[in-house]
Amino acid sequence: MKREDVNDLAQFVKLDKLQNLYKKIKKNHDVRILTTPTEQTLLVPVKDPISGGSFYSGEVLVTSTIVEVEKTKGWSMVMDSNEKLSLYVAVLDACFEKNIFKDEIKELLKEAKKEIMKETKKQNQKINSTRVSFDLM
């Protein structure tokens, strides 16, 4: 598991679990919020198959935070308006880099990944059950 996996996978961990870990980290380490959770947008370019160029289809709302844990910076950018989630993920990002509660973080992310895969497989079975090949009359 790499640091780059934290931002995505942590968004699937239940918020109360993230909150518990955040409290534990905060109790034992110096956590500073450098940029409070802020709603921002990302412009979304889409490839145009006809010209090979691209165009902007709209924007995605994200919430970003920058923190510092024991002088190591952490960052998060989570989907939608999610202040608490963004803060917790940023702290996890810094802790992962600084090797603080790294095993616990990894365990949470592994659980989340397992759950995502389980749900995806179930969803795929539903999708694949609609595979069709019409017969010509």
């Binding site: 990302l42 289809s57 709209g58 995605v60 952490g74 079975q125 059950s129």
Partner: protein
Amino acid sequence: MAYYAIKGGEEAIKNSLNFYNDYTKRSEKIDDEDLIESLTFSIDKVMSEGSLYSKKLASKSIKRSAGDLLNASFFVRAHRSSCQRIGICKELDVNDMRLSRRISSAFKDIEGGQLLGASNDYEIKLLVDLKNEKVDIKEYSNKDNVIDSALTPLRNDNLIKILPKEEEPWDITRVFPTSPYPRSSVLQVMSRGESGTLLGFAYTSMRGYGDVHPTIGDLRIGELDIKFTHPFTKKEVKIGSIEATAVESAGTFNKDENGDTKLTTGFGFCFGKNETKAISMSIIDLSLYNNSYTVGTEQIVASDFEMVMHHVDGIESFGFANHYKLPHYVTFQTDYQIFKSAKKYVEEQNQKDLNGALK
């Protein structure tokens, strides 16, 4: 046309707002998660037309406007303009989509097959309770479906007409271009356009004012990953994923810029699940870039760049149409006074003429 500022009426306005809040406040009781899960197509329409992918805000907006989706899109668009834009995510390619639905009406057998997905296309449109037959889902494959567009083989064989590539996409939210409009700006306008308006424009080209009767080469709904650069590691990070709809429709055969006859195609893309919008966009795209005027006249709405660029945005047209509700007393009274004076003048002239004739 002009209207004047008004003053006064504060108490009535306050009471009217209170009345409106009383009238609509029951919608606030709906849980956001419930609304997102249940009215999924409404959420998607609002995000797409509001041009901001946020299910939470779309839900809040639908509740705030008590289900008026155009008004809800307005809330979302307004919120968008209040947020800082942090950057541009990695370009999305619809061929990377994890598909939940993928059909083609042009090809019966396509690589990867056709997936009906969650659709009511073949439902009997009667408001009666239909029994859901139990299916053992476990017997089906659990593999992802990431499949290239059904038109990719034709494109690889150089059978599809291509259009000139722009170096950088235009962004209409910063500067609205003037004619001739860059293709990227045209696609951006349509991608955030109002579904009904796009449908209406597309319909004109199929019905009486155009000759586009396309076949859907590839219609897909699925998830696309949003990726951005981590500011400290400088490596790519997945932010999350969005649902989107993409359509490539095939038109007739037309000459390209080298004089070679190629298959013409149109592209449609929008946030969320909205097939009607994506199909309509692809038809207008076909009509704009491949007009041949065999039906109707050269004044074809769906082939007119000015018409499309300035009239398909729901928020703008909604705002303009609704501003007529606001006091225009001076405008109208001026017109009315001119009308009355002119009428009086004509009557006096007529009387003078009559008096002259009697002398």
